[in-house]
Amino acid sequence: MMINLRRQKEVRAVKRVLWCGFVLMFVFFFSTATLYADSKAYHVGCIFAITGKASWLGEPQKNTVEMLAQKINESGGIDGKKLVLHIEDTQGDNTRAVNAVKKLIKKFNVCAILGPSRSGTSMAAIPVAQAANIPLISCASAEIMLQPIEERGWIFKLAQNDSDAVRKIYDHLVKRGLKKVGVITGTTGFGAAGRDFLIKMAPEYGMEIVADETYAPGDTDMTAQLVKIRNSGAQVIVNWSIVPAQSIIPQNMKQLKMEIPLYQSHGFANIKYAQAAGEAAEGLIFPAARIMAVDTLPKRHPQYALMAEYKSEYESTYKDNVSTFGGHAYDGIHLLSGALEKVGDDPAEIRNYIENARFVGTGGIFCFSPKDHCGLDKTAFELLTVKNGKFVVLEP
Amino acid sequence: MTEIILELKKLRKNFGGVVAVDHMDLTVESGSITSMIGPNGAGKTTIFNLITGFLKPSAGNILYRNTDISGMKPHVIARKAIARTFQNVQVFPQMTVLENVMVGRHIRSKSGFIISVLVPPFCRREDKKNRTDAEKWLDYVGLGHESDKTAGSLSLGNQRKLEIARALAMEPKIILLDEPASGLNARETVVMGRLIEKIRKMDITVVLVEHDMELVMDISDQIGVINFGRCIATGNPAEIQSNPEVIAAYLGE
C-alpha cells in the first residue's frame, strides 16, 4: 500500500514536470508575439522556400527582397515610413506555408504578402490569405491559382503564364512547320502544369502529341524515355521541367544522336542548367523572361534599363547569377512599394491598386485588371537559345 | 491405469545437416511429473519447441490426448491448454506483474479489437474477472504483493514464478517448465520445487527440463535422460542414478 501511494505520488510528479515543461515552452514560444508593434512602418510579408527542396527558387527571391528593402529604406523609405519585411521560410512544404501565412497575417499584421515560391505551397496558402482578405502575390506560375477569378479576388501572381510559354513554343513550331511533338516532363507541379497545357492546347495549333513521357527529379538517365519518343516519330521534343535533371535530356539526345530540335520551358532559365548540359545545350530553344538575356537585348527595349540595373546590383551583391525567380520578387516589391506609396497600407486599397496597376518589370510589361490577376501575356516571353554557353535572344 | 496425456513418437528434428532430436520416444502420464535431463546441447529445449509448435518436426508425431498436434502454430497449441515457460525467462518486461498474468488469461477470454477499443459493459466484466483470476494465480505462486511492479524489475526468482503464474492462468492440462530453477539460489530452488509439487496436486501434468539434479530427483515420477538427441534411459530417480549409461553421459567414462 505504501509503495502504491508513493508510486502514485511519483506519477503525479512526473506529470507535473511534463506539463511545466510544456507550459514553459509555450510561454517562450508565444512571448515574441508583440515584438513588432511598430506603426511607423509598412509591414509586408514574404514567404519563400528559403531552405528545403526548392531552396534554389526561394534563395534568390529572399536575396532580392532584402536588397531592395535595404535600398528603399536607405533612401528614406516610402513616404518617410520604413518598409519592414517579414520573411518566412516554407521549406517548400505546404504545411509550413500555411503556418507561415497565418503567422504573417495574425502575428505581424502585414498588409500584403509576397510569395510563396512554388505552386503547391501557393495553393495551400491561398485559402488562408483569401479568407483573411490580405493580398497575396505569388511568385509561382501555375494559372490554376487564379481560378476561379471571382473566388480569388485577393490573389495575384507575377510569374508568366505557363500557357503563354506553350503558346510561344507552339507559335514557333507552326512557323517552322513542325507538327509531331514528343512531350517529356518532370514530375513536379511545374512539369505537370506544363504537360497539361501542352496536351490541351495542341489541337488549337494543329499539333499532334505523339509521345508523353515523364522523369523524376532524381533520375540520372532518360535514354529510355527518349528512345520511346524517337520510336514515336516525333519531329520535335518539348522538355518541360524546372529541376536540374532537365539538363540531362539534351545530353542524352546527343548521346542517342537524335537531331530533332529540342524546346525547353521557361524552367530552363538558369544559366547553370545550360552550363551543366555543356555543348549539348547549344541551339536548344526556350521561352523565357528577357532578364535571362539582358545583354543581348536591344537597348531601346522598355525593360532594358531596369533589368540591367537589377542584374548588375544583384550580381555584385550576391556574386551569383541573376534569375527569373529573383526577378519575380523584384517585380513584387516594386509593385507593393508603388501601392504603399499611393494608397498606404490598407489591404483592400492595395488590392484595388494592384488590380489596376500597369508597370514595367523584369518579368514583362504588367497590365493587371480585375479580370486578369497576372497581367502578363505571351509577349512577356522572348524565345532564347543557347550560344557558346550563354543565353541569347533567338534570331528570328 | 492412468491416462497417457502426451506421447512423442519417433520424433526427429534436424537443422540442415545437424540432427538435434533423433528418434525420440516418450510417454507422459496424466498427473505425473516427468523430467528430461541431459548435458548441454542434448536437444531438450528443442523437444519443448517441437511440442509447443515453435518448430516443426522433420519426422514423427506428437500426440496430445490422442490427437496429433505436430506442426500446429503455437497459439493453436496454447488453446489446447498446453502451457510452457522458457529457459531464459520470457516475461513481458514493460508490463506490470498483474498484466503479465492477465496475458495468460488470453485464451480464457474473448473480446476482440473493436470491443477492446469501445469497452462495452460485458467487456468490462470480463476484464474484471480476468483481473481477479490473475490475482488469484499471483497469490498462488506467492507474488500477490508485487502485482503493480513492472515485470522487468522483479528478481529472477520472482520472474520465474511469474512465468509459471502466467502459464497456470491459462488453466492448462499440461505445463512444460524449461529449467525453472536455473539461476536461482538454493532457497529459491526449494521454493520452486514445492511450487511444482503443488501444481501437480491440482492435477496438472508437469514436464520439466532441469539441470538442478537435487530438484529433479526430489520431485520427479519419471526421468528421461537425453543425449545427442536421443532418449538413452527412462525410469524413476533411483534407476537413473544407478544407470551406468547416464553416469557416463554426465561424468564421462
Binding site: F29, K106, T187 | Q94, V103, R105, H106, V117
Partner: protein
C-alpha cells in the same frame, strides 16, 4: 485504463479547453492544429511500434490515403466530408491489410524497407495518376468540415475539433492498450514466443494493429485535407514517414504519452526556432533561416544521445535525480 492515464487525459482536456482563451492569435492555433494531426498519426504509429514492436516507414502513405480519399471524394465527386473520411478509413484499413499480410512476416530492417517501399509506391502513384489525384498539381477546393451544422472554418473551431479527435483517439488507444487485446500486443513486443505460447495469435494481431494504426493516420490525413482545403503529394513523401518515426522515438515509444510528447515537441520545434529567429533579429543579431536546419538536427542529436529512452523517460530520470538531490539537501538541513 489506469488512474494516471485518466489524470493525463483530464489535464490535456483542460489545457485544450482553456488554451484558445490564452492564445488569441489564430496563427498559434493553426500551428497547434497541425500538431494535433501529427499527434493523431503518432498515436497510431506508437501502437504499432511501441506496443506491438513492429516498425513502419510507410505511414505517410496512410496519411496520404486519408487525405486523398477526402480530397477526391469531396472536391471532385461532391460527397459529404464525413462519408469521405469513413471511406478513407476503410480504404486505408484495406490497404494496410493487403500490405500487412506479406510485410509483417518480415523483421527489422527488412520490414522497414518493405513499408518504405510501399510508401514510396503510393507517393509515385499520387504523382503519376494525374486523372485521379491531379498529379503534382494536387486537388483544390476541398470543403471544410461541418460538425452538426457548424462549419469548422475558423482556426479556433478546428483547433477544438482536431484536439477533440486526438483526445478520442487517445482514449480509444488507451482502452485498447489496457484491454485483453492490448495486453496481447504488448506481449508480442515483450516476447513474441511467450505471447504465442500464451495463446496470442501473433501474426493476426500484428496485421490488425497495423490496420488500426493505418486508420489513425488516415483520419489525420482526412482532417488535413479538410483543414488546408488543398492537397498535393508534397507532404506525403517518405521523409514524412521518417519524421513520424522520429517523433515517436524522440518522445519515447513505450508509452502513448511519449508519442504525443514527441509529436508535439517536434511539430512545435520548427515554429519555435523561427520565433527564435524573430527574437534574435529583434535584438539586432543577424540570423538566417538556414541555421534552423542545423539547430534542429543538433537538438535531435542531443536528445538521442542523452535521452535514449525518449523525452518522457528522460524527464523521469531528471526528476529522480533532482528529487534525490532535494532529499539529500533536506537531510543536511535537518542534521
Amino acid at each position: 485504463m489506469r488512474h494516471k492515464d485518466y489524470m493525463g487525459l483530464g489535464i490535456l482536456l483542460l489545457v485544450i479547453i482553456f488554451l484558445p482563451f490564452v492564445i488569441t492569435n489564430d496563427y498559434y492555433l493553426g500551428v497547434l492544429v497541425f500538431t494535433a494531426l501529427n499527434c493523431l498519426t503518432c498515436i497510431g504509429l506508437c501502437l504499432l511500434m511501441g506496443y506491438a514492436g513492429q516498425i513502419s516507414l510507410g505511414h505517410a502513405a496512410f496519411y496520404a490515403l486519408g487525405a486523398y480519399a477526402t480530397g477526391i471524394l469531396t472536391a471532385k465527386l461532391g460527397w459529404s466530408s464525413w462519408m469521405a473520411m469513413g471511406t478513407g478509413v476503410i480504404i486505408s484499413a484495406g490497404v494496410a491489410f493487403l500490405v500487412g499480410v506479406p510485410s509483417l512476416r518480415l523483421k527489422g530492417h527488412y520490414l522497414a524497407m518493405a513499408t518504405l517501399g510501399f510508401g514510396a509506391i503510393i507517393h509515385i502513384v499520387l504523382i503519376a495518376a494525374v486523372n485521379m489525384t491531379g498529379g503534382p498539381s494536387g486537388v483544390v477546393g476541398i470543403p471544410s468540415l461541418h460538425f452538426f451544422g457548424i462549419e469548422l472554418n475558423t482556426d479556433t473551431r478546428f483547433f477544438y475539433f482536431s484536439w477533440s479527435t486526438v483526445i478520442i483517439g487517445l482514449l480509444l488507444a488507451l482502452n485498447l492498450i489496457h484491454s485483453r487485446v492490448g495486453r496481447g500486443l504488448r506481449a508480442i513486443h515483450g516476447s513474441e514466443d511467450a505471447a504465442g505460447s500464451s495463446g496470442v495469435n501473433t501474426s493476426v494481431y500484428k496485421i490488425k494493429v497495423f490496420m488500426v494504426s493505418a486508420v489513425y493516420a488516415s483520419v489525420a490525413g482526412s482532417l488535413y485535407a479538410n483543414y488546408v482545403n488543398y492537397i498535393d503529394p508534397g507532404p506525403f513523401d517518405v521523409m514524412h514517414s521518417v519524421l513520424l518515426l522520429t517523433m515517436v522515438a524522440v518522445g519515447g515509444m513505450h508509452t502513448i504519452w511519449g508519442a504525443i510528447t514527441g509529436a508535439t515537441v517536434l511539430s512545435l520545434l520548427p515554429e519555435f526556432l523561427s520565433s527564435m529567429s524573430d527574437y534574435f533579429e529583434s535584438l539586432g543579431l543577424s540570423y538566417q533561416p538556414d541555421y534552423d536546419t542545423l539547430i534542429y538536427g543538433g537538438i535531435l542529436l542531443l536528445m538521442m544521445l542523452f535521452l535514449p529512452e525518449g523525452l518522457v523517460d528522460g524527464m523521469n530520470s531528471i526528476r529522480r535525480i533532482t528529487s534525490t538531490m532535494f532529499i539529500r539537501a533536506r537531510k543536511k538541513l535537518v542534521f
